[in-house]
Amino acid sequence: MSDETGYVVSIERTFDASAEDVFDAWTSPEVMRRWLHCGRDWETPAAEVDLRIGGKVRVVMRRPDGTEAGMGGEYTLIDRPHRLVMTWTFDDDPSNEQLIELSFTEAEGSTTVRMINSRIPTDERRDGQDEGWSGCVDELERALAG
């Protein structure tokens, strides 16, 4: 359907660090690894960042039951430390390519990051992937409660 452009999630947060440091954190494999490492029994068998135009970012989460969910994208714009744009695709749904745009604005030593995640698909192919993420959120909540 031509009128279907997907959903958008937009988030803004300010960090007490320079734009360079925040930008570098955002492109760090360590951050990617921790992002999907939801608990002690979870693993991230892959967390790779190839920071150049056309370079790939890839993360794989392995759940405690051994099942894996892989995701990643390709950098399409790198303007350190101001802007970063990448595509984002989930392995179980390769035909739906999302877009993640980040902007970094430094003022008085703090840096505000604005993320716009667009082209979030609106159909049933995402249900399985949603379940995987719910498991992660449950795990984090357990950790916080414990």
């Binding site: 660090a17 440091d21 925040v22 979030i120 249900d127």
Partner: protein, 105 residues
């Protein structure tokens, strides 16, 4: 299913219909007034909303009244919420990482 709801809400005209119904039930005429589209077009959009379970229709004699089904919309917002949680988590991790680096200096 949430996916049907998203498909149903993918068109601006259908979103307008849902918005108008959020204030309460209305007749087909009331809900599509001023859209400037043909009757078959309106019918097609309404059918899509009904099939998706977003809108229900009660026929009272010659009057068709439409109502929203809030639970369908709640399912859809849950899906977007999970997308947002994933992104928020990434922001959290970036924040923790930056704090750790600062402490190490």
């Amino acid at each position: 299913m949430a996916n049907d709801t998203f498909r149903a809400l993918a068109h601006p005209l259908r979103r307008d219909i849902v918005e108008r119904l959020s204030g309460g039930t209305a007749t087909v005429g009331e809900v599509t007034r001023g859209f400037g589209v043909s009757k078959p077009t309106v019918s097609r959009h309404l059918k899509l909303l009904e099939d998706a379970g977003v809108v229900s229709r009660v026929i009272d004699g010659r009057t068709h009244r439409l109502a929203l089904r809030p639970q369908a919309l709640a399912e859809a917002s849950g899906w977007i919420e999970s997308q947002r949680e994933r992104c928020e988590r990434l922001f959290d991790v970036v924040g923790e990482y930056l704090e750790e680096r600062k402490e190490r200096r």
